[in-house]
Symmetry: C2
C-alpha cells in the first residue's frame, strides 16, 4: 500500500495534514513558490471538524495523523490545521523523526513583523480556548494588545461552498468581527486554514488599517526557509506530485482539492480511521477523560 | 466498566444513539411520556457531525455505535440520528439482537397522517442524498409531492447556542426554506434531531398551513407503542435513570444534556472512538472506498 521509502534527502516528500480539505490552502501556497516539491497530504475528513472538539480528542487525532504520515519518511512534516497545531504541536514535535512546521508560529511572526499595533486572531473555538496564539504573541511582546475571537460557523460556511458575496457570509462575519472592528488591530491573523477563502470579505469589514495575515501563507514561507537552510529543497523547478489520503470519500475529496489547493491531486487514496486509530502510541490510548 | 446484564424484560434499558447531543431531543420526548424508563445514551461527539460525511463512513460509525450499545442488552435500540438511520437503519436491524426503532419511518407515518397535501423534508446533506425520506414517503403514497432540502448550517448554528430570535438564524432559514415556502406543503418533517430547537422560527416562516413534524417526537411515540404492545414497558411511573456515554469531553456533554434532553444526566462516561472502532464486524472493515 505504501511507496518504497527509497527517496533520499531533498527528493523526499513534504508531508502535510489537516482535519479535512482546509490544509490544502497551505499546499497551494507551498506549490506556488516550490512547484517541484512532492507533497503527501492527509485530510481526516471522516472526523472533521477538529475545531469544535476537546483539545485532548484533537490531540489524539493529530498524533494519529502524524504517525500515519511518518510512514512516508517525509523530509518535513507540516501541521496545516491550526486546531491540531494548538492542541498537539509540541507533542508531535517530541515524537516526529522529521522536523515539524506548524501554522501558528509563522503566522504570529508575520503578524508581529507587520505592525507595532494590536493583533487580532480569528480561529476555531478549540484554537481560541487553547490560548496558543495569545501565548505565542505575548511570549515575544508581552505589551501587545491581543484579542482572539472564535468563529465556529465559518468552517461549515466555506465547506458548504458559499462565496464571499453571499449575504449570509456577510451577516455572520459582521457578527463575529464586531469587537475586532472596534479594536482596529494593526494585523488580523486568519487562524484557520478555511478563512483565507473569505479574505476579501473579511478585509472589507476590517478596513485598510488592518493587515490580514494568512497563517497558511506564513507557514508555506517557513517551509521554504527551512528547506533552503537545511539544503533539502528539491532541485526540480516543476512537476511535483500531489498525493492525497482521506479518511472519507476520495471522489468528493478530489473534487474539493482544486478549490482549496489550486490544482488537482495526482491521486487520492482512502485510509480508514480504524487504521489511523491503530497507529497512536499507547500513552495516548489510556482512556483518560478528554478535557 | 459495564453494568451487570442481569435486568430482565421490562426492567432493561432503552438504548439510544446519535452523532452527538442532538438525539437527546428524542430522549426528552421519551421521558415526557415514560419517565420510569432507564435510558443508556451514546453520543459520538468526537466524530460529529455525521450529516456532512459519506453514507458509507456514516454506516461504519453507526454500526460501531449500535455494537457498543448492544453490550448493555437493551430491550430496544433507538437510532436517534436521522443520518445514521438513513445510512444504516437496515444494516443495524439485520444484526441487532434488540428490536430497532429509528427516526425516519415514524416521522414519515406522522407526516402522511397529518396531511393529504405535499410533504417537505428538511435534513442534512447525507440524509437528503440518501433519498431515505423520499423513498419512505413514496413507498406508501407514490402520488405525493415530496421535496427534500439540505440545511447544512443548521446543526452548527444550534450547537453554537444561537437562539431562534438571532437574525442570523432567520437569514439562514429564509435561504434554505425559500423553495419549500413556495411549495406550501401540508407537512414539513424536521428530519434532523437538532431542528426541533428551531421549530418556532421554522413554523413562523412556513406559515399555519404547514404542520411541523418532529421526527424526535414521532420516534418517541413509536417507542411507547412498541414497548406497550410487547409488554416491555417499565412498570415504574417515574425515576428512570439517564446514563450517557460520549466519545469526547464528558463535562461539556453533561452541560449540553439539559439543553437538549430537558433534564440532567445521572452520569456521563467517556468512551474512546478507538474502543468503538474495535467493535464493528469484519465485513465493515475491509477498506472499501466510501461512496
Amino acid at each position: 500500500m505504501f511507496p518504497a521509502m527509497t527517496a533520499e534527502g531533498n527528493h523526499r516528500a513534504v508531508a502535510v495534514f489537516d482535519s479535512g480539505v482546509g490544509g490544502l490552502t497551505v499546499v497551494r501556497s507551498l506549490l506556488r513558490t516550490m512547484p517541484g516539491e512532492d507533497i503527501v497530504y492527509l485530510g481526516d475528513s471522516a472526523r472533521v471538524p477538529y475545531g469544535i472538539k476537546s483539545l485532548q480528542t484533537v490531540r489524539r487525532f493529530a498524533m494519529e495523523d502524524a504517525a500515519f504520515l511518518g510512514r512516508f519518511a517525509p523530509k518535513l512534516l507540516v501541521v496545516a490545521c491550526n486546531t491540531a497545531a494548538a492542541a498537539a504541536g509540541e507533542a508531535i514535535r517530541s515524537v516526529s523523526p522529521a522536523p515539524v512546521v506548524d501554522v501558528i508560529a509563522p503566522g504570529v511572526a508575520a503578524a508581529l513583523a507587520s505592525t507595532a499595533g494590536g493583533i487580532g486572531v480569528a480561529a476555531t473555538q478549540a484554537t481560541v480556548r487553547s490560548g496558543a496564539y495569545q501565548r505565542a504573541i505575548l511570549a515575544v511582546d508581552p505589551t501587545r494588545e491581543v484579542r482572539a475571537v472564535a468563529c465556529p460557523l465559518l468552517v461549515p460556511i466555506v465547506e458548504e461552498g458559499r462565496d464571499e458575496d453571499d449575504p449570509i457570509v456577510n451577516h455572520v462575519l459582521c457578527d463575529y468581527l464586531h469587537d475586532l472592528q472596534r479594536m482596529r488591530p494593526g494585523a488580523l491573523i486568519l487562524g484557520c486554514t478555511h478563512y483565507p477563502l473569505l479574505a476579501r470579505a473579511i478585509g472589507k469589514l476590517m478596513g485598510p488599517q488592518t493587515v490580514l495575515i494568512s497563517s497558511a501563507e506564513a507557514a508555506a514561507e517557513e517551509v521554504r526557509r527551512h528547506l533552503e537552510e537545511s539544503g533539502l529543497r528539491n532541485p526540480r523547478s516543476a512537476g511535483g506530485r500531489l498525493e492525497c489520503y482521506t479518511t472519507d470519500n476520495p471522489e468528493r475529496f478530489a473534487e474539493l482539492t482544486e478549490r482549496f489547493g489550486g490544482r488537482a491531486a495526482d491521486v487520492v487514496h482512502y485510509v480508514g480511521t480504524d487504521e489511523l486509530e491503530t497507529l497512536s502510541s499507547s500513552s495516548d490510548r489510556n482512556h483518560e477523560n478528554p478535557r
